[in-house]
């Protein structure tokens, strides 16, 4: 499915999407925040920004989004919840790699985010939290008279 490129095929769309994500996050490297958790912590987090807003992506598969506790205090975003993994009875387990139990993550966002203008949605196991930035912090075109 992801093998040989076929220009003009329906797969172009897939590659474009893949490239966008890879270009944006694939080469990311910057100093870690003091509250950051080691990679592999649940839920995984990606954060992207534009001049207008900050988008936080929480990789939280199989979670009832209503059970998540999301709060934004100034520029500190806190997410906590409990992921219940049903343990089957009368079976033999070979692997149990998926995270289960309580979790909490705190993320430090840019300081110009506006806590009053936040939207969150859930699709395919990803919570996307979009926070608008304050107008004053956006780059402005300066006119020369």
């Amino acid at each position: 499915m992801f093998g040989i490129p076929m220009p003009g095929s329906v797969f172009d769309d897939l590659w474009r999407l893949q490239q966008e994500v890879d270009e944006l996050f694939g080469s990311w490297s910057a100093p870690l925040g003091i509250r950051s958790l080691p990679r592999g912590s649940f839920p995984a987090v990606n954060i992207g920004q534009t001049p207008e807003r900050v988008d936080v992506y929480l990789f939280a598969p199989g979670i009832d989004p209503k059970s998540l506790d999301i709060s934004l205090q100034q520029n500190l975003l806190t997410v906590s919840g409990n992921r219940e993994i049903k343990i089957e009875e009368d079976v033999d387990y070979y692997r149990q790699e998926r995270f289960g139990g309580e979790f909490r993550r705190v993320m430090s966002l840019p300081e110009d985010v506006d806590p009053d203008r936040v939207q969150a949605k859930y699709a395919d196991g990803i919570v996307q939290i979009s926070i608008e930035r304050r107008e004053s912090a956006r780059p402005r075109q300066i006119q020369i008279h």
Partner: protein, 140 residues
């Protein structure tokens, strides 16, 4: 697995040492495909596999059997703004891939896959004639 072959053939040794992967576009990314965490268990009728693949929708999921290998692939999709730049990233690849060797008593034609909220569940039944049978002891 075509992409892996490409990496072996075209990848420079330095990039390979860094754990780099080649996307279908031919661009290098920092990392290869994501190996999704799985739970695997067996009951008397078959084997069940659960994989966390957040961001994968049904039309970007590919579960297939190649010979006796079960291959699970998925394309991660995020809603990104055109002018977005990365501030932080735990997830640095957009392709999930993992494979498992199956054994002969499993009925590969009857594999069922279900994807919900980014969790893939694959059910692989055992051939009926090979399921453990309870042996009744008659008292006579």
């Amino acid at each position: 697995m075509a992409t892996n072959t490409e990496v072996t053939r075209r990848g420079s040794s330095a990039a390979k040492e860094a754990g780099a992967g080649l996307t279908s576009q031919g661009t290098w990314t920092a990392e290869g495909p994501i190996r999704p965490p799985v739970d695997v268990w067996e009951d008397k009728d078959g084997i069940t596999l659960c994989a966390d693949m957040p961001g994968v929708s049904k039309d970007r999921l590919n579960v297939r059997v190649d010979g006796n290998t079960l291959i699970v692939e998925g394309q991660l999709e995020l809603e990104l703004s055109k002018d977005a730049e990365a501030l932080y990233a735990d997830v640095r690849s957009s392709l999930y891939r993992r494979s498992f060797a199956l054994s002969g008593e499993l009925e590969t034609e009857k594999i069922e896959a279900n994807l919900k909220h980014g969790v893939l569940t694959v059910r692989i039944p055992k051939r009926a004639e090979l399921r453990p049978k309870k042996i009744e002891v008659k008292v006579g």
